[in-house]
Symmetry: C2
Subunit: 234 residues, 2 copies
DNA sequence: TTTTTATAGTTATATTTTTCACATCTAATG
DNA sequence: CATTAGATGTGAAAAATATAACTATAAAAA
């Protein structure tokens, strides 16, 4: 795991210079570990279908990874298979749970019960991945009247819920202008992992993990790739 | 750009062996180019705030990238600044548009007007990034009655809309079990770029660009990082 | 039992990506 | 006008990642 050093920055806004002291963090979970997550998701689905056994190339094909890469990743995390018969799905899942120290469900909260926040709250399959959304928060009173399995609370109750459910990870799904503000509150109440959907890089100290999910970038990168095809020869 | 080779795979389901011939593609847009996208998003926001000029470390700090990396990326795409005065925001944005061949808006469609599909359709800021959702599609008649700026059509009208708006990129936001099916339809109608929210790896030929966005993985990777802190020394 | 074969596991190599160090340039300053 | 401070630009080194090639082994077949 690596952290960026503290740097002082300045911005010019309308010919006035502003100084910002920023401490930045990255948690770009090394690629191999991200793939273990990917394999696990795929294995859980395969298991549900009744699949008992996979080969490195089966799993690779399922996850869009080369067979060598799958074996290499397993090797890195000391996951052993049977040299002729591949890997047992249940055993694999078990070993992955160990890697992720998965002792039961992980309670998380979502701030902002708008489009994205509601999508996440309505999604039923998180529980298969042991992700448990215990509450959502919103400042808008009309949102607070939403009736669903997952409650919507006012911001005032955030600390209480975080403490009660021992929440360590939160999702930010509020407009970009208030994302930093919400982030600061979350950190104050003891959150140390954030998934951020707002298109801003949050300023946090380096003990806080932030994962920025930028949907515009995800779409735009495909649009760009598509615009390339036909232009370049292979 | 790199493509995986064609491989034959087999899966064992309830002790029956199934063979699948699969052709897989990846479009992992090289990291530097992904960051250019990130810089551009940030610059557009800064521009709206009235910022005229940035330095490599300003922009780096804004996007969570090191100053050296920013300069290196610019160097790769032959983007020049002023060796004392940094970079002019408008000029930078212009150069990036050139890189992305951005001649006007890009029309895209969304299949599945459920949680994610509606979130995307309701999002007003795509247009700033020249992403233009022209239509959404759903098999559910109740979804087809949704009234909003962006229409919901039956699947029957897909080909017509794709042709009319010259759509090349589509977003898949349907349940995982039908994602491959929808994908095949899209490809049949001439789509060659797909952003896939379903947690399955789509089987496509290597002329089709697929970007898988797996929200569970995004959340889980933070949960994992958080569970590590305190366990490891730095 | 021996041989064959398919697949895991590992080591070596290649490629990509990031970081570092410093030369270079430009705008401000005295 | 010469000097200097503070930026950019880039080649080289280092680190991370991916690919390929090879070895070992277990299961199946002969
Ligand atoms: N919807 C998308 O497809 C999409 C795409 C790209 C990026 N994003 C980003 O994701 C974030 C959420 O998007 P969305 O479409 O769900 O927005 P939204 O407007 O639907 O929802 C935002 C919610 O946050 C609440 N909110 C506002 N200020 C708050 C505060 N200070 N504290 C708590 N709650 C507050 C609002 O009441 C609202 O319910 C935004 O930052 C947006 O830029 C969304
Ligand atoms: N909502 C989330 O937070 C979340 C998180 C992780 C992954 N995902 C994935 O994203 C995808 C969409 O999720 P969602 O929550 O929006 O689902 P959803 O159930 O809300 O919406 C799916 C929509 O697709 C439509 N649909 C079903 N079959 C179709 C078909 N054959 N053709 C066209 N439309 C069809 C349904 O009518 C529905 O409106 C799913 O694959 C899901 O696994 C969602």
């Amino acid at each position: 795991m690596k952290f960026e050093k503290i740097i002082a920055t300045c911005v010019e806004i309308n010919s006035e210079i502003f100084f910002i002291v920023k401490i930045n963090t990255k948690c770009p979970l090394k690629r191999s570990l991200r793939r273990i997550l990917l394999y696990r998701g795929s294995l859980l689905r395969l298991q549900a279908l009744g699949v008992k056994r996979v080969y490195s190339y089966t799993l690779g094909s399922e996850t869009g990874v080369s067979a060598e890469q799958v074996r290499k990743d397993f090797s890195e995390y000391h996951i052993k298979g049977n040299q002729r018969g591949g890997y047992r799905v249940d055993k694999l899942i078990g070993e992955m749970e160990t890697i992720f120290h998965n002792n039961g469900n992980h309670n998380i909260i979502v701030v902002g019960r708008g489009n994205i926040g509601s999508s996440l709250a309505n999604y039923n399959n998180f529980i298969q991945r042991q992700i448990n959304i215990v509450a959502t928060f919103d400042i808008d009173p009309s949102k607070q009247r939403i009736r669903s399995d997952i409650p919507v609370y006012t911001m005032e109750r955030m600390k209480e819920i975080i403490d009660r459910f021992e929440v360590r990870t939160a999702i930010i799904a509020v407009p970009d202008m208030v994302a930093q503000n919400v982030c600061d509150q979350l950190v104050k109440y003891g959150i140390d992992g954030i998934v951020n959907f707002a298109p801003v890089i949050l300023k946090v100290t380096d003990d806080i993990i932030v994962n920025n999910v930028n949907l515009s970038d995800e779409i735009e990168s495909v649009i760009y790739c598509v615009s390339l095809t036909g232009l370049e020869e292979f």
